[in-house]
């Protein structure tokens, strides 16, 4: 029996005490000595030339210390915001990367583009002064829709980007797909929209820049998922600050979901302003400001076709997608609808030939980038809508057609036609278990009950696979990443035997302080309560790539495990010295060093203490101290997957869709902390349900204004929208990560939109509906029902 809290248990989270007592420390909570407050003046126009900016009156307002424009930053040779992961188009040419100034110069390109930054003694003073800045704009024609942006007569957003086309990209074997379609007995075609979303972590973004002229030292506190990457991008590419002079701190961060994994203009502006003023400058986004300055997600328009034989066996798939980049490329913008999308189009199915082309378009909208799932929910939605539609057209049961085409467990590792090789999985088992848990057999009776109440009931099924654990550097760099995607961890054993872990991932809700401590407790036998985690500070943590793409446990946990291996090896060397034995004879088990077959043993704490009292160490072969660092670069992506089944009930009189039942069986690999994994899956599913039923970021094409710019207009899922979720893990161990883990942060968001929409379409099938775009809002559903009834009545 283990006397430590290790892998597979669910201790209370270490981070929770400070959060339930109001003692978390988020960026907005931080005050620095003599700190000034900043406010941005943002563009009210979607597309306009800036003909003049008059700051004279604003500058005279009380408390105002400085007002900066894009011209000021350009004159100071501040660089544009860099792209961290670019792509190459179908002709081998790099995608278009127009200059992205932190504050607009000459032109504004979306509503919300920063025009000036006011620094004052108080926020109220800064905001009041910002209103007095007089900007003359020459308003230009704009385009917000991505398909419209690629039309010949569309307004040109950049002089050096013809046709607003960022990249025309492709993956797959077009010839093989054409052959598959020629031999098909049936072709299913769909057109769908994956609507624009706003990630909306509950903590709005914030940043404090500080400069100490006497030390030449810069510090940025920021709401970031990856402080080391911000240090690299902002330091090297934007402000020209050497990395050893720039400290980036991401303290407690109130949710990320991808929104906080980009280097944002505001980070550079507060740091640059602080350097000009020689002190600290703080900016905190209001929610309405977040809506027009946080990178948005999704925003695809897709046409897809599936070729099958007469029995419903999949022969080939063809996908054409338009993806909105917004007005500028955000940090990972072009990578999301391409490299993180097309490789997942095989889903959990055997599809011999797949071809995908993606046109990435610039529009006069907020930049679009990764949002929880990032490319993979979009791919899953395409695949699962196609499969469901094919089932309907071929008259095959929707679960049966999936099973007929699934990759069987014994076919893993499975090479898809889209580059990736799935290492492990058992989708058939996930779907089978989900069928049982969801009581699929009882659906007909429940549907009859709904009908008796005048309600339409539908059942939706979705399977999914995702590529996460970002990422093998070798593959990622081939695909255009401009950095490695390894992770680093240090295990610092103190003389008492207690441990501090320093890790390059960032904890903003995922429970890393708990999960990582469990791993080290399991490996070293150190009590859970004697292990603490440090993350989010570039001056404390050696290096890191941060938290996104379900990578923290997969890549960071593997680095931590490797560092623990090194600590054990060093401990065995110390023990060998103390036992006067050979290294290979020293065992380490259950927190004890021993010599097999003897009674010689030393506790972990004794060896830790000895490491720091090296009075008799053979110093030429044995260093004092017990602290080890490891870098881990994964050999492959990981491929979590699963099956989700839900039931919806629709009131035809109101159009309201009620999610009544939800079942998920997910394969996330080995589970370290079941409580945290279940929490991640629950949260992910509800974010996906939000996309399916509620959330929609809407631009008014005529004015270019963001219509859904607050929580009054952008409908977030609430507690009373969601049923009790039934979630069960079904784990196959990852073949290549040392802990067998696959990652779990994005699963729910990837699996759930297709499940819910398939359920909605199923509920409306009897009145002739074949597709419903997201969100399935009451307005949309009511209109669909009304139009269908009118049409049927006319016939």
């Amino acid at each position: 029996m283990k006397d430590f809290i290790g892998v597979g248990s669910s201790p209370k989270r270490k981070e929770d005490l400070r959060f339930v007592t109001g003692k978390g420390q988020y960026v907005a909570d931080i005050k620095r000595p003599n700190m000034l407050m900043g406010a941005f003046l943002r563009s009210p126009h979607a597309h306009a030339e800036i003909t003049s900016v008059d700051i004279a009156e604003a500058l005279r307002m009380p408390g105002v210390r400085a007002i900066y424009t894009g011209e000021d930053m350009r004159a100071d040779e501040v660089g544009g915001l860099p792209v961290g992961w670019a792509i190459t188009d179908r002709n081998g040419e790099p995608c278009k990367e127009p200059l992205h100034p932190a504050i607009a110069v000459d032109k504004v390109r979306y509503v919300g583009d920063a025009v000036a930054f006011v620094v004052a003694e108080s926020l109220e003073q800064a905001e009041a002064a910002a209103e007095l800045i007089e900007v003359d704009y020459k308003v230009l024609p704009h385009v917000t829709g991505l398909v419209e942006a690629l039309q010949a007569d569309a307004p040109q957003i950049f002089d050096d980007v013809p046709g607003n086309l960022c990249a025309d990209w492709e993956m797959g074997d077009n010839t093989a797909v054409d052959a598959a379609f020629e031999n098909a007995a049936h072709v299913t075609s769909i057109e769908l929209v994956n609507q624009r979303l706003v990630g909306n972590p509950m903590e709005p973004r914030a940043a404090i820049g500080e400069y100490e002229p006497e030390r030449g030292q810069y510090t940025l506190w920021t709401t970031s998922q990856f402080p080391h990457v911000v240090r690299l991008l902002m330091g090297e590419f934007v402000l020209g600050i050497p990395q050893h002079r720039l400290r980036v701190v991401a303290p407690d961060v109130g949710g990320g979901f991808g929104v906080k994994q980009f280097h944002y203009a505001e980070e550079a502006v507060v740091t640059w302003a602080a350097s000009k003023l020689g002190g600290a400058v703080k900016w905190v986004a209001q929610r309405s400001e977040g809506f027009i300055s946080d990178a948005h997600g999704r925003d695809h328009v897709t046409q897809a076709e599936l070729a099958t034989d007469a029995e419903g066996a999949f022969l080939g798939m063809r996908v054409k997608t338009y993806a909105n980049m917004g007005a500028y490329l955000s940090t990972f913008g072009p990578n999301i609808p391409t490299n993180l999308y097309a490789p997942l189009l095989s889903g959990v199915y055997r599809i011999p030939a797949i071809y995908c082309e993606v046109k990435c378009a610039f529009t006069n909208t907020v930049p679009v980038d990764a949002y929880r799932g990032a490319g993979r929910p979009e791919a899953t939605f395409v695949v699962e809508r196609l499969v469901d539609t094919a089932a309907l057209e071929l008259g095959i049961d929707k679960i049966e057609i999936r099973k007929r085409n699934m990759i069987p467990a014994d076919a893993y590792p499975y090479q898809t036609p889209m580059v990736v090789e799935y290492d492990s999985g058992d989708p058939m088992a996930c779907l089978g278990r989900a069928e049982e848990l969801a009581d699929v057999a009882g659906f007909a009776a429940r549907k009859a009950e709904s009908e008796a109440k005048g309600l339409y009931r539908g059942m939706g099924v979705s399977t999914y696979v995702e590529a996460c654990g970002l990422a093998p550097s070798r593959l990622a760099i081939q695909m255009g990443a401009r950095s490695g995607l390894y992770e680093s961890a240090t295990v610092r054993v103190h003389p008492s035997g207690a441990v501090t872990i320093l890790i390059g991932t960032h904890n903003h809700g995922q429970g890393h302080e708990t999960t990582f401590a469990q791993i080290v407790s399991e490996r070293l036998g150190v009590p859970f309560e004697n292990i603490d985690i440090v993350c989010g500070d570039t001056d404390k943590v050696q290096h890191g790539l941060g938290t996104y793409g379900s990578r923290s446990l997969v890549v960071g946990g593997s680095a931590l495990n490797k560092a623990a291996d090194k600590v054990i090896l060093k401990g065995r060397k110390i023990a060998a010295h103390q036992f006067e034995a050979d290294l290979e004879d020293v065992l380490f088990e259950n927190g004890e060093f021993s010599i097999a077959g003897t009674d010689k043993k030393k506790s972990f704490n004794e060896i830790a203490g000895a490491a720091y009292l090296p009075y008799d160490f053979p110093l030429e072969t044995l260093e004092p101290g017990l602290e080890e660092q490891a870098y881990y670069d994964p050999v492959n992506f990981t491929y979590p997957g699963g099956a989700h089944i839900c039931e919806v009930e629709i009131n035809p009189d109101t159009g309201i869709v009620t999610l009544d039942r939800y079942t998920a069986v997910d394969d996330v690999g080995t589970i370290i902390n079941p409580m945290i994994v279940e929490g991640q899956l629950q949260g992910g599913i509800v974010q996906g349900v939000g996309q399916a039923l509620f959330e929609h970021c809407v631009y008014d094409d005529a004015s270019g204004q963001l219509l859904s710019g607050s929580f009054m207009d952008y409908c977030m899922p609430r507690a009373d929208n969601i049923p009790h979720l039934v979630i069960e893990p079904l784990s196959t161990s990852c073949a290549h990560t040392p802990l067998g883990v696959k990652g779990c942060g994005e699963c729910g968001t990837i699996g759930s939109p297709a499940a819910v929409i398939n359920g909605v379409v199923d509920a409306l099938r009897h009145i002739g509906v074949r597709h419903v775009d997201m969100p399935a809002s009451p307005n949309r559903i009511w209109n669909i029902i009304r139009k269908t009834r009118t049409r049927v009545a006319a016939e």
Binding site: R13, P204, G509, Q510, I685, R718, A719, H724
Partner: protein, 157 residues
């Protein structure tokens, strides 16, 4: 103007601009940053505090209006680090929080619910929390926490 009130059972008196909102007074003037601001339209509920024992959104309340009254924030719930309010304990025990940003508002709203309705059903908890948005948890463990917290409060823990 001077605003005097009882904050977490202690008398406080603050000089503040008459336009100051209670959330800003707590956070900026009094450095009580446990109360969070997650939106600007009174939708998210991260800023919920108790005014005379009832939950209110402190982002929509003028600080001047609490003069002479009793305010409680998340910082005032626990008797000590080792003696949490049963609702705080329930959130910890049931993984009712992830990033922690909505948590203070969730706690304050939930305690008010249980004060009014000591034995709420799952549906009643979900309805009551309609004014508090959480982006991390999907609400399931928040609901579980509130039901457990309600039971503990009934037992006088």
């Amino acid at each position: 103007m001077k605003i005097s009130f009882t904050l977490n059972e202690k008398a406080v008196s603050v000089d503040a601009d008459p336009a100051t909102l209670l959330a800003d007074l707590l956070r900026e003037n009094l450095n009580m940053t446990g109360t969070h601001v997650g939106c600007d339209t009174s939708q998210c509920g991260a800023c919920v505090v108790h005014l005379n024992g009832e939950s209110v959104k402190s982002c929509t309340l003028l600080a001047a209006s609490v003069d002479g009254q009793e305010v409680k924030t998340v910082e005032g719930l626990a008797k000590s680090k080792d003696e949490l309010h049963p609702m705080q304990t329930a959130f910890r025990d049931n993984h009712g929080l992830q990033c922690g940003f909505c948590t203070p508002g969730m706690l304050m709203a939930s305690i008010d619910l249980v004060n009014k309705n000591p034995e709420p059903t799952e549906g009643e908890v979900r309805d009551w929390l309609e004014g508090n948005i959480c982006r991390c948890t999907g609400y399931q463990n928040i609901v579980k926490s509130v039901l457990a917290g309600a039971a503990a409060m009934r037992d006088g823990n």
